[in-house]
């Protein structure tokens, strides 16, 4: 059984006034499953709905329609939301925004421990220290300090340790390394790998950086304008991309290789894409045909990769 299953999740945001309302389907029928002890990446450009999906999983936002199942049980049935928060914890993008600059970092740890009755009063410090050790810090290192006294990497570690306090089975990490110093970035990414291997914590890793996604994750889903266009094992999806959008995204990654430059590309940043009738990528797709403008593509299973593109049919390329 999957740890977390998302079924046909849809979130509609209304923009504009009463008279000229624009309804944007930020998340449009997303289904995915996260297994126990795996790192699952949601990747895509800004506005693809990856953060909204994460916020719904975290319970910060309610879906317009669709279900979330945790170990087969609908999370709407968790009457006490604390039970849910015990299982799912968040790691945010910028650690300096995660913590209030006027509060000592340790106070967040004590607060969580008390809210969830995680340890006896006299054992609190030892309990917190144990969790900090898991991320390579110790209680002595954070005691009495304010966020400004940490480096970005240390503070992000502390933020991960705080998320681990409740011994969650799932971490939702939204761009957790994009604000961390370049020389420390890999140590945070490695931390997710080691948490998966030692504590069997699953991670929903949200990013637009395909290079770290490849490095850290087991499976990946590529999102575009609210829907998943390609999903499968990361080696398979990124080594042999099927969907034209995955190809575009892969080509846009600035590879650390000075011998190879960018190829020119068409860029479009319309809101109209959300409202497009057929395949939402048709306007930018170099291979789009007539059917792409009219009909929404269905999911096609190619081996262990799921693709949503008119180019493919069950078993291979459309003839």
């Amino acid at each position: 059984m999957s740890l977390l299953e998302v079924r046909k999740l849809t979130k509609v945001f209304s923009l504009g006034s009463l008279f000229s309302r624009l309804r944007i389907r930020a998340v449009d029928g997303v289904s995915l499953a996260v297994k126990e002890g795996e790192i699952f990446t949601l990747a895509g450009e800004s506005g693809c709905g990856k953060t909204t999906t994460a916020r719904i999983i975290l319970g910060f936002e309610y879906p317009t329609s669709g279900d979330l199942l945790y170990r087969g049980k609908d999370i709407a049935q968790f009457r006490d939301r604390r039970v849910w928060f015990r299982e799912v914890q968040a790691v945010f993008q910028n650690p300096f925004d995660t913590f209030n600059p006027l509060r000592r970092v340790e106070s967040y740890f004590f607060e969580t421990v008390r809210n969830f009755h995680l340890a006896e009063k006299k054992n609190e410090e030892a309990f917190i220290d144990e969790k900090l050790q898991a991320v390579g810090l110790s209680f002595a290192e954070i005691a009495g300090k304010y966020p400004s006294e940490f480096s970005g990497g240390q503070l992000q570690r502390a933020s991960i340790a705080r998320a681990l306090l409740t011994s969650p089975s799932l971490l939702v990490a939204d761009e957790p390394v994009s604000m961390v110093d370049a020389s420390l970035r890999m140590s945070i990414v490695n931390l997710f790998r080691s948490l998966r291997d030692t504590l069997r914590v699953s991670v929903v890793y949200i990013t637009h950086d395909l290079a770290t996604a490849y490095y850290v994750s087991d499976r990946i889903a590529i999102m575009f304008r609210g829907s998943i266009v390609e999903e499968g094992p990361v080696e398979e999806v990124l080594a042999r991309p099927r969907h034209p959008y995955t190809k575009l995204l892969l080509e846009s990654v600035p590879e650390p290789n000075p011998e190879r430059g960018f190829r020119e590309v068409v860029v479009c940043e319309d809101r109209e894409e959300y409202l497009r009738a057929g395949c939402k990528f048709a306007g930018r797709c170099p291979e789009a045909g007539k059917v792409c403008l009219e009909e929404v593509p269905e999911n096609v299973l190619l081996g262990n990769v799921l693709v949503r593109c008119h180019k493919y049919q069950e078993g291979g390329l459309m003839v």
């Binding site: 637009h208 395909l210 290079a211 490849y214 490095y215 846009s252 990654v253 000075p258 590309v265």
Partner: protein
């Protein structure tokens, strides 16, 4: 190879008055650089290493609490060298945007949020171009936007109506309007996703090719440097630790810090464990004595904590500040 900007032993520190007394933040601590004409010059380093302050100093924009402590910045304008930090205010204003322009970090806060972009562009032109009619200026702006592949319709938009990538491209349009010889771009793509980033970088390099000028690109993303810069400098704790052709730096990094930066980059198709540099970057308030990298350096020797290595040329057109490479220098 003609230089456009030369920095010689530049020192610029922030003086902060706090309750505990004066604090000195040594953000630019003895930087010497020669930036040549007609290139994309990269400046890499992590947050808080002084890259933005260095750009401010290169722009001649040293305002308190930032103060100039030594060294100079030279601009090469029409074949003669001008000392940028001691120019009279009027002259400085004249050079700004026509000789040197600046794309600041975070395009959201660049534009006035309550004014349409048209009035931002007009304000800009009216204060820097004299003796032209409003209509004429407006036509010039529209033509310029079209050249950059942007629709003149953006002039009727408010900044918040544009996406981040679009706004950043409009900021580039504004910075290149008067065809400057040098464009300083401070993290122009940091807040953008890879697809929008690519469009912005594409635009910047097109503009550079078109104007045959120099773009100084500051970013911590080594992938971006590899793709569009031809020369680059690596900055650490207020100092330049390595400088050379981008290709040489990526193929054979010489400073241990650069080696960590480059070898820790994940690559698609390779899942081998990658380690980042041990320890944490130093605070500019308390820069370690000697080589600022020595507390994190696996090869540190006794003298690294005592003396600060100079930036010396150890291979043709490749300079590094590290005692490990001294033998190469002595041999040559």
């Amino acid at each position: 190879m003609n230089p456009v900007i030369i920095a010689e032993g530049l020192q610029a520190f922030y003086i902060l008055e706090t309750l505990e007394g004066k604090k000195v933040v040594k953000a630019v601590n003895g930087v010497s650089l020669t930036i040549p004409e007609n290139t994309v010059y990269g400046l890499a380093g992590e947050s808080g290493c002084g890259k933005t302050t260095l750009l401010k100093a290169l722009l001649g924009n040293i305002d308190p609490p930032l103060r100039h402590f030594g060294g100079r910045v030279l601009y090469r304008v029409n074949g003669e060298y001008l000392n940028a930090l001691s120019l009279p205010q009027g002259k400085k204003q004249k050079l700004r945007w026509t000789y040197i322009s600046y794309i600041p970090q975070g395009s959201m806060s660049v534009f006035n949020p309550v004014a349409k972009l048209r009035s931002t562009f007009m304000d800009f032109l009216e204060s820097h171009v004299s003796g032209k009619a409003r209509q004429e200026l407006l036509r010039h702006v529209e033509k310029h936007l079209q050249c950059l592949g942007l629709s003149p319709r953006v002039l009727d938009a408010y900044p918040h109506q544009l996406s981040g990538g679009m706004r950043q491209r409009v900021a580039i349009a504004l910075a290149t309007l008067l065809k400057p010889r040098v464009i300083l771009a401070d993290e122009p793509t940091t807040a953008l996703d890879v697809v929008a980033q690519r469009a912005v970088l594409q635009l910047l390099s097109e503009v550079q090719r078109e104007l045959q000028n120099t773009v100084v690109l500051v970013t911590h993303d080594m992938g971006v440097h590899a793709n569009i810069t031809t020369r680059m400098a690596i900055m650490y704790a207020g100092k330049i630790v390595e400088e050379g052709l981008t290709r040489d730096i990526f193929l054979a990094p010489l400073h241990p810090y650069t080696q960590f930066l480059i070898h820790s980059l994940p690559r698609i198709g390779d899942k081998k464990l990658r380690e980042s540099a041990p320890g944490n970057p130093p605070s500019l308030l308390k820069i370690p004595p000697g080589c600022p990298f020595h507390p994190r350096c696996p090869y540190a020797m006794a003298e690294c904590s005592e003396d600060n290595p100079f930036l010396i040329e150890v291979a043709p057109d490749h300079r590094v500040a590290c005692f490990l490479r001294r033998s190469a220098y002595v041999a040559s």
